[in-house]
């Protein structure tokens, strides 16, 4: 590697400073704040706080409500990840086979990607609206009264559908480009070696797609855990108590609605550890095995 030397010793520091400041102000400081306040209990009327040690954490561990939300979060994350990856894979495999009009087809599938998350949440809410939502109408046609924001299961259903719908295009783009980067000759060699298309997919195509798929797996888990906040916010209609919510949403409701900054901070620290674990796993896995070249 080439080493470049700066004539002024302060120059590199000056160049790095803006980036470091941004990271410090927007990442390290809030993270530190969260860790710090997770050891304090806030006075309900905002008149100060008392050091309580690990109380906030033990309270979390014992809370049956927290366990319920955590349970739903796991369920929600698994379902959203599996459905959005699975559907996108199916679409990508089909799109990869299209020869005529391939461009148009792909563009149409990618459109949703261009929609901003709040707009997607809003559109989703419209689709499930009590009075004018076409999906609600569809269910009504089959004799089921879909009640988003009122019925726990119905809300969970709508959250999952909208979250999956929003994530499919990203997955689709990555999976399709992953498919297309598999050398044609390798597929042709497989065509000669194996008659069954399904077996060819699982023996050759899928393993070659694995690096992309693994990257997407982590991205999707992160998405389901954190980036679905907007969708959930719209679906629960300001009534989080009787509706399914995820851990991230609970941080928000407990902290800002419930005024329990200490407990809410402890929850965010738990989430930070989770993200850290995911990231380490991703780096570990990417370095190892799932790389062929």
């Amino acid at each position: 590697m080439k080493r470049a030397a700066f004539s002024q010793p302060l120059m590199p520091v000056a160049l790095l400073l803006p980036q470091l400041v941004i990271i410090a102000v927007f990442f390290y400081w809030p993270a530190w704040e969260a860790i710090y306040s997770s050891f304090f209990l806030q006075d309900p009327f905002g008149f100060g706080s008392n050091f309580v040690g690990a109380d906030n954490y033990t309270r979390l561990a014992k809370s049956s409500e927290y366990a319920k939300v955590a349970g739903f979060t796991v369920f929600f994350t698994v379902i959203v990840t599996v459905l959005s990856l699975g559907t996108a894979l199916l679409l990508a495999v089909k799109a990869d086979k299209v020869i005529r009009g391939a461009k148009t087809y792909r563009t149409l599938l990618m459109w949703v990607y261009a929609i901003a998350p709040p707009v997607a949440g809003f559109l989703g809410a419209l689709l499930f609206d009590q009075n004018i939502g076409p999906i609600t109408d569809l269910f009504a046609f089959f004799g089921y009264n879909l009640q988003i924001g009122l019925n726990y299961n119905d809300t969970a259903f709508a959250m999952i559908v909208v979250s999956v719908w929003k994530q499919i295009p990203v997955n689709f783009i990555f999976l399709l480009s992953g498919l297309q980067s598999i050398p044609v000759a390798v597929r042709e060699a497989a065509l000669i070696d194996n008659k069954s298309g399904t077996r060819r997919f699982w023996d050759i195509t899928f393993p070659l797609l694995a690096p992309t798929a693994f990257f997407l797996l982590i991205t999707n888990i992160t998405y389901a855990l954190f980036d679905t906040f907007g969708v959930i916010d719209i679906m629960v209609k300001g009534n989080p108590a009787s509706n399914p919510i995820t851990l991230v949403y609970k941080v928000y409701t407990d902290g800002f609605r419930g005024g329990d900054l200490g407990g809410s901070s402890a929850q965010s620290v738990v989430l930070m550890v989770l993200v850290l674990a995911l990231t380490i796993m991703q780096f570990r896995m990417l370095e190892r095995r799932i790389h062929y070249t």
């Binding site: 000759a185 042709e188 060699a189 065509l191 194996n194």
Partner: protein
């Protein structure tokens, strides 16, 4: 082991490009056919139609006694070696070789036996557990060969399998492939644009030009009796000299000098190979020398005869050369072609 019978096979791509014009030929059992021609002449297309990787637009293709037009590649009992080897990057060398057998229902013992036999043949035994990315180009080439061999197919197909190797390795693999094919006695079609490969490996050469088969013949037939000016100038290095000449009173002349050949009056193309020309004082054809290229064993004399470009491949005797030389050649070393169509007369 099988014969291949091709009847009026042609290919038109969906965009309307006709890559292969109707062609018919038969390949004998155990024969090695080399398809040769310039880039874009349709060699790969023809081979891929045989493999089943490209639809056959018209015509019939029989491998063995079976009509295989509508069979999947996996059902045609063929094995193919690709230019970029096309190994499965996530599988070990052994798994790469075993994959095709496994899918054909071979038992574990059969597969193990076949793979180790092929590995032995190709000196791959020590590499069986490696991934393709851990192999050199030559070794990958061998694995690709191994993958084809273990299958014991009716027909081997090769699409420029050596073009990514350096000259020395290419020579070595050329001999190796030829020996293997002989030993296993498997019918083979081999695509290349390297005429040395074509001459040295083929039982018969098919010379393709713009989607048409210009000539089918043994290497020596192709060299000695090229069917057209295209074949004459494509096969042979340096290529055959082609001179525009006139036939007057039944005698072919260049620059007023009779060559001792006769044909109907009018324009005619005369071909002569650079290595069949002698530079002698007693020659009859004047040659203006412009450039000498040293090749070691011989040298190439570039110049003109009757104002037309001409190359002589002369023995390298270190003699100083004058600018004006006289050339001599035996009349039976000359080839006559129609000046318009380029067809052999």
């Amino acid at each position: 082991m099988a014969t291949v019978n091709v009847t009026d096979i042609s290919k038109t791509y969906p965009n309307g490009a006709q890559a292969v014009h109707p062609a018919s030929f038969d390949i004998a059992d155990g024969e090695l056919i080399v398809l040769v021609g310039p880039s874009g002449c349709g060699k790969s297309t023809l081979l891929r139609m045989v493999a089943g990787l490209e639809d056959i637009t018209t015509g019939d293709l029989h491998i063995g006694a079976r009509l295989v037009n509508n069979l999947d590649p996996a059902e045609r009992d063929i094995a193919m070696v690709f230019q970029n080897y096309a190994l499965y990057p996530h599988m070990s060398v052994a798994k790469n070789m075993a994959y095709g057998l496994k899918n054909r229902g071979a038992s574990k013992e059969q597969i193990a036996a076949k793979v180790s036999e092929a590995a032995e043949m190709l000196s791959l035994t020590a590499l069986l557990d490696r991934r393709p990315s851990q192999l050199s180009g030559g070794q990958r080439q061998r694995v690709a060969m191994g993958r084809a061999i273990v299958r014991d197919p009716a027909l081997f197909l090769f699409d420029e399998p050596l073009s990514n190797l350096d000259a020395k390795l290419r020579h070595q693999m050329r001999v190796e492939i030829r020996n293997l094919q002989r030993r296993l006695n498997v019918t083979a079609m081999y695509v290349t644009h390297d005429q040395v490969e074509a001459m040295t490996m083929a039982d018969r050469i098919f010379v393709l030009n713009a989607g048409r088969i210009e000539q089918i013949g043994t290497p020596s037939e192709i060299y000695r009796k090229p069917a057209s000016t295209f074949v004459a100038s494509f096969m042979g290095a340096p290529p055959m000299n082609l001179l525009l000449a006139q036939s007057v009173g039944g005698q072919v002349q260049i620059g007023g000098v009779a060559l001792g050949l006769s044909c109907a009056d009018g324009d005619v193309t005369v071909g002569i190979r650079p290595e069949q020309v002698a530079v002698t004082q007693g020659g009859t054809i004047p040659f203006k020398l412009t450039l000498v290229e040293e090749l070691g064993a011989s040298r190439l004399l570039h110049g003109t005869v009757a104002g037309q470009d001409f190359v002589v491949n002369a023995p390298n005797d270190d003699a100083a050369l004058a600018d004006d030389l006289m050339l001599d050649f035996a009349p039976d070393a000359l080839h006559l072609f129609d000046a318009q169509t380029g067809q052999r007369l």
